[in-house]
Structures are given as C-alpha cells and as structure tokens.
Symmetry: C2
Subunit: 213 residues, 2 copies
C-alpha cells in the first residue's frame, strides 16, 4: 500500500555525456513503470532524426524569451548560444494523475526547480570517473572539437554542484543506475514528510494532537 499517491517530480541531471538520456530510456523501458515525461523547449537547431514535440519543442529565441517573461517555464538555461527549458504547463497535471514525472535538465537548472517545486526529487548522475566522461564526449562526434572542449570545461565546473542534489547516482552500468533510481522513487513515496497526512487519514485520525505527544 503506497501512502502517497501523487506522482513525484523526479529531476535527472548531470554533466553532458554522463548518459542521462540512456538512463532515462532504461527507466521508461522498466516493466510496470508509471513514468511520464515533459518535453523540453530549446532554441538550438534540430539535429538529424530529432522530432518536434518528442525530442524537444524547437522555438526561436524570441519565442523562448516570451515564455521566460510570462513565467511559463519551470527552469531554463543558456548554453553555447542556445536556450533550454521546461514548460510549466502540464507538470502539475501529470503529478496529479499519479504518474512520476521524469525531467532531464541541465545541471544549473536544479536550483530553479527546487525554488518552484520544493517537493522535487533531484538526482545527479555521475560517471564512475572523469575519463569515462571525456571519452564519451569525444566519441559522440556530433559536435565540433571546440564544442567538445566547452562541454568538458562545463562538466568540470558542474561536478562541484552535486551538493545541490538530493541523490548522487553513479552510471557505471545503465541497468544498475535505473534500478537505483526506481528504489529512490519508492523510498521517497514512503518518506514521512510525503505520507504522514495520508497515514492519519488511513487511521481515521486527524493527527491534530501529534505535536503534543
């Protein structure tokens, strides 16, 4: 019996090249999963094979800035000349439906999310060591050497932001990392701060006297 039945906002983040996307795909491929996702918005050019509304919502810089001004983004970031962000619309709706909303965001978006959604569960995905990350970035091959170098510098700065997150998950093996994230979600549902009101409801008790005891 799960006491807290509202979905969780689960933020996956970590330096570029750490395998966030692969871990997220493994999560969504889990048996009996109850996950949903929110498509990010970006001003960066569409890569080959990417689909509008599935991989990203591709918008112009002008459109993106309007969204920021209207407060319609949960978080956003600017990197290498492009904006990336999460539209606020549908986030609450997804959570109320009881599904876990998995968000994959840039590292420096964590603080913005926590400010707007204090209940978010934030997970920092890290490589087993730095070399693995550098190799992944260089092997990717979709970016110029200058862009790879930028991403490496950015990753090194981002390692220091791990302390802002609730959990640190090492992506040494995609299955292990996904299993650990599922355990985190299950544990968070059982956390007292999320489930105590439902618990008193279950016992037919208002819990009004709980602070006196």
């Amino acid at each position: 019996m799960k006491l807290n039945e509202r979905g969780l906002l689960v933020v996956l983040s970590g330096p570029s090249g750490v395998g966030k996307g692969t871990v997220r795909k493994a999560l969504f491929a889990s048996e009996g999963q109850n996950f949903t996702y929110s498509v990010s918005m970006t001003t960066r050019p569409k890569r080959e094979g990417e689909i509008e509304g599935k991989d990203y919502f591709f918008v112009t810089e002008e459109e993106f800035k309007k969204k920021i001004e209207a407060g319609e983004l949960l978080e956003y970031t600017y990197f290498c000349g492009n904006y990336y962000g999460t539209p606020l619309s549908q986030v609450e709706e997804a959570l109320d439906s009881g599904k876990e909303l998995i968000l994959e965001i840039e590292v420096n978006g964590c603080r913005q999310v926590k400010e707007k959604m204090v209940d978010a569960v934030t997970i920092f995905i890290v490589p087993p060591n730095k070399d693995v990350l550098y190799q992944r970035l260089m092997r990717r091959g979709t970016e110029s050497p200058e862009e790879v170098q930028k991403r490496i510098s950015k990753a090194n700065a981002e390692f220091g932001l791990a302390y802002q997150y609730d959990y640190i998950v090492v992506n040494d093996d995609v299955k292990n990392a996904a299993d650990r994230i599922r355990a985190i979600i299950r544990a968070e549902h059982a956390s007292t701060r999320r489930s105590i009101y439902k618990y008193y409801e279950l016992l037919g008790d208002t819990g009004e006297n709980k602070d006196e005891q």
Copy 2:
C-alpha cells in the same frame, strides 16, 4: 557502484502487533542480503522457546540499570514492568564492516537513537488499519486480557509518534513491506549527504571549492 560503503543503522519500529518481527525475518531471508542484527537486552521473563543471546539477552533489573548508568545502551524503554534496550557495543563495529544493522526497537526509543546516532534511518511500520492491529494483538494469546488491553492503549498513543520517523511503511503484505524497506536502504546509500565525500574522492577532487560555485 555504491558510493557510501559504510553500513546503515536501520531502525524498525511500530506499535506492538504490527508485524515488525515478521518483516524483519523477511528482510533477513532476502537473496543476497547484507544485513546484520543486534540482540536486545531485556528484564522480562524468557518465553517458551526463546534463546538467550539470540532472541534477547535476559538480565536482571539490577544488571540493566548498571548498563544504563554506564551509558552502554543505544536506547532503552520501560514497559509493563520490564526494561528493553539495545547494547551500544558492536553497533559501530557492525556498521564499519559495511553491513546494514537492522534494529527492532520500541516506538519511544526512536528519539534516543536519533540523539546518539543522527545518521540512523528510522522506519515506522504501520498496519493497513487499526482493526487489523487489534485482531493481531488479541489472536496472539501469549498475554493476559489485561496485557492485551494495555498494548492496545499503548498502540493508540504510539500512532501519534509516526512523525518522529524518516519513513512510514504499511505492512499490508510482508513481502511488499520488506521490498519497500530494501528500496529505502538503497536510496539512503545514494543520498547526497551520505555519499558526497566519497563522490569527490572518486573524482580525485577534494570538493573544497564546492561552496563557492
């Protein structure tokens, strides 16, 4: 890869009759488990079939009070004319060995444990509803009607102490409850506060600059 390799002190508690012992046994029967336990000390008379040093350390009230005075107990409680407590000896040793130490204690011992071991993970086990608990207590048959009534009154008071715990786990089904506790342990190992120093070690970084970023 598990960042935090020290064992966790996991406190299982909940009103008498909630099935703490059954859940604990299910945990210890898990495949590939890495759990150890600490035998409690009590002044209550040994029940038929109970074994000294396995079910409890059975001591006299005088011996128990000496342990309290010497500060040799992690927590203790007095109930129905008897003392129950956890000897501090071997607790740290068990945790340093990398095993998860599962402690089953009385509800009002939680605060004492948290005072001495702030890192403890405390789990409050609850019945799916109050009637299930009352029925279990009455069916047990090892106590007099007066003792059953005392335990029911005590359980009702203890429901209000759930907020002192980190997690609330409903024991609607022993397997489910044990699975959820395993998920909690796994998640706690990945929590940033437990794993951040190991993480910086892994990256060959002292993490000294992390507050500046």
